[in-house]
């Protein structure tokens, strides 16, 4: 690495604007940091005059020269990764559709399965990864990934699987390497066997080893692998099975299935009607919240705030204003919706205002097949604990 001192005039790099170019801004800015069309040019001239005699110190990563742009490692370092303008732009450009919304066409095998069976599948997929052998866990992940590819449109599963796999992968690595790598701060009060005069535990004749792999100070142990596989597989199955269920079932069918399952609890005083109406309103409200988050961010982006002139506290203040505005708008929406519900005859009593939910049309063949698969999966997971361990 070398350092080269270059007494360079900035005008050697930056072309001077045409003398015909008008520098004076046409209108004064309304806000303190608002973008004005000519302010950038004005700023350039300011810099141009102030930096006239300042020397440039140019650094290069290796000996291939000052102009070796290809080897300049600096460009690979992410800059302004969490810059405020990028965050708002990213939010404003995000889709307004919530993740995992119902896709009415093309109609797939999952569309023709009864919503109650799908809900039972969801429950089983939440319980199984924690209670089964590691091979069953990974088998479930592969099964769900293949099912998603088969059932969902390509743009949906690519997006969904990518995100869930990334999340599960991060979880797997962090938990796998982190479970036994960090030294325990709590020491055992039992003295080691050598002090007690006992022989050390014999090494396994079958090649058993608690530590599976070592990566410098980090190590992957059997306990780490178990914890990591359970957490990562559980995360994957929860997200992916929920996505599969939501894309192939209407909210009303889901509400019907839930109502069918929790209806017996009505006798124990569970407010079933309230829970179902709340679920349906929440499913409707999610889209409004997404829209509001996006629209308010779009409003901020369209103001063209010059973020570089803001202090950290001022940027934080803008974020708080953003959050405050979202909440205010959401509460306003809630008020309007409640007024609309009153206008449509809802008087606050869920029992008298009956919602007519239906299971929708389902195929008997698809129902039987999915039930058999479910029973088979539970049986396989149960036996795997005894046969494979």
């Amino acid at each position: 690495m070398f350092t080269q001192l270059v007494h360079a005039h900035p005008s050697a790099k930056l072309p001077l604007p045409s003398p015909l170019y008008t520098v004076r801004p046409s209108t004064p800015p309304i806000f303190k940091h608002q973008f004005t069309p000519n302010s950038r040019t004005q700023f350039f001239f300011l810099q141009h005059h102030h930096q006239k005699l300042r020397p440039f110190i140019r650094c290069a990563a290796n000996s291939e020269g000052v102009g070796g742009n290809k080897l300049n490692w600096e460009k690979w370092v992410p800059r302004n990764f969490l810059a405020a303008d990028k965050v708002f732009r990213w939010i404003s450009e995000a889709t307004s559709s919530p993740i995992g919304q119902y896709i009415s066409s093309p109609t797939t095998f999952l569309h023709s399965v009864d919503s109650r069976i799908k809900l039972a599948w969801l429950l089983v997929l939440v319980v199984l990864p924690a209670r089964s052998h590691i091979s069953v866990r990974f088998g479930l992940v592969i099964f769900l990934a293949l099912l998603s590819m088969w059932m969902q449109p390509k743009q949906v599963w690519v997006d969904q699987l990518g995100r869930v796999t990334l999340l599960s992968g991060i979880l797997f690595i962090m938990l796998g390497l982190g479970t036994d790598s960090a030294p325990s701060l709590v020491f055992s009060r039992t003295p080691p066997p050598s002090i007690l005069g006992l022989p050390n535990l014999p090494t396994s004749l079958e090649g058993y080893s608690y530590v599976i792999m070592k990566f410098g100070p980090l190590q992957l142990t059997r306990k780490g692998l178990s914890t990591a596989s359970t957490s990562a597989c559980l995360t994957f199955t929860i997200f992916q099975s929920a996505s599969l269920c939501l894309t192939s079932t209407t909210p009303e069918q889901l509400a019907f299935a839930l109502q069918w399952f929790i209806h017996p609890l009505k006798h124990l005083g569970l407010p079933v009607a309230e829970i179902i109406l709340t679920l349906l309103l929440s499913l409707r409200f999610i889209t409004l919240v997404f829209d509001e988050v996006r629209n308010v961010a779009l409003g901020i982006v369209s103001r063209r705030i010059n973020w570089q002139l803001l202090t950290t506290m001022e940027t934080v203040d803008v974020f708080f204003t953003y959050i405050r505005r979202i909440f205010r708008n959401i509460f306003s929406h809630s008020e309007q919706i409640s007024q609309a519900m009153i206008a449509r005859g809802f008087r606050g009593d869920c029992n008298s205002h009956k919602l007519f939910l239906s299971a929708g049309t389902s195929s008997a063949m698809a129902n039987i097949l999915s039930l058999l698969c479910l029973v088979g999966l539970i049986g396989a997971a149960t036996w795997s604990k005894y046969l494979l361990s």
């Binding site: 119902y102 909210p251 349906l280 929406h333 449509r344």
Partner: protein, 265 residues
């Protein structure tokens, strides 16, 4: 706007228009022929400072059954408040009011009106208060969606619809309740021209299918007046005039012309 032009607008002399021949007050004998009727109605709110602020002042109007009427006026003139009083969402402080029942209200923003996640279940939401069988509900939902040209969207999630389609679903929800009075609050504000015409035609078709349904439509768009049978013009909480649509159109255009003339003089 400068002070002189403001004064010119406020002192502009209102023409006294004749009551149209179709207007029921000409043959006032049959009261059942009126879907909405109010006399000397006032509505005021109490401000945070405890002062009484009048919103509607001495409003009187009557709208015959089976017609589409428009309610026009500048922002803050009390149109939406008047509509909410007709819907029973607000109570007037004074005056006489009679509105045929059942009545339905369709809000300006369809996102507020459509409360269920899919189209068919939203249309069925308002029917829950009636004691109907499941088949009856299904047939009513189908008929209402067919009337607004949305039958093919029966299973669609609401968030996948355009603004105009949502607005038509909201109207279908009101129609499914077999209402006699449809109160429509600025339905076309967020819509483009194609959706605007689609929604107006949906309402007109509904009215054509039954002589009993009456619609009162709040709007700012003058071009919508050509679809109306009659109109009401409001300003500063008062009903300035009501009558047939062409007279109201002439009146508003005359005001606009006078205002423009005042600006350029």
């Amino acid at each position: 706007m400068n002070q002189s032009s403001l004064a010119a607008v406020s002192t502009f002399k209102l023409p006294v228009l004749p009551i149209p021949h179709s207007h029921p007050s000409r043959n006032c004998g049959n009261i059942d022929n009126l879907a909405i009727e109010c006399h000397n109605m006032c509505y005021s709110i109490t401000t945070k400072q405890g002062r009484l602020k009048p919103i509607l002042k001495d409003c009187s109007l009557s709208i015959p059954s089976g017609q589409l009427w428009m309610l026009l006026g500048p922002n803050g003139s009390g149109k939406s408040t008047l509509l909410k009083i007709f819907a029973g969402l607000l109570n007037p402080n004074e005056g006489f009011l009679r509105v045929k029942k059942p009545r339905s209200f369709v809000f300006q923003n369809p996102d507020h009106q459509v409360v269920m996640p899919t189209v068919k279940d939203d249309v069925a939401f308002g029917l829950s208060k009636f004691n109907l069988t499941y088949d009856e509900i299904r047939s009513r939902v189908a008929r209402a969606l067919d009337a607004v040209g949305m039958y093919d969207y029966l299973q669609r999630p609401v968030q996948t619809l355009s603004g105009g389609q949502k607005q038509r679903v909201a109207i279908a929800g009101a129609l499914a309740e077999a209402c006699k009075v449809l109160l429509l609050d600025e339905l076309t504000t967020f819509l483009d021209e194609a959706d605007q015409v689609g929604v107006i035609k949906a309402v007109k078709n509904t009215l054509a299918s039954s002589e009993e349904i009456t619609a009162l439509w709040v709007t700012h768009r003058l071009e919508e007046l050509e679809y109306a049978d009659g109109a009401v013009y409001m300003e500063e909480g008062k009903v300035i005039m009501h009558g047939d649509a062409s007279s109201i159109m002439d009146f508003i255009e005359a005001r606009q012309a006078a205002y423009i003339k005042q600006i350029y003089s």
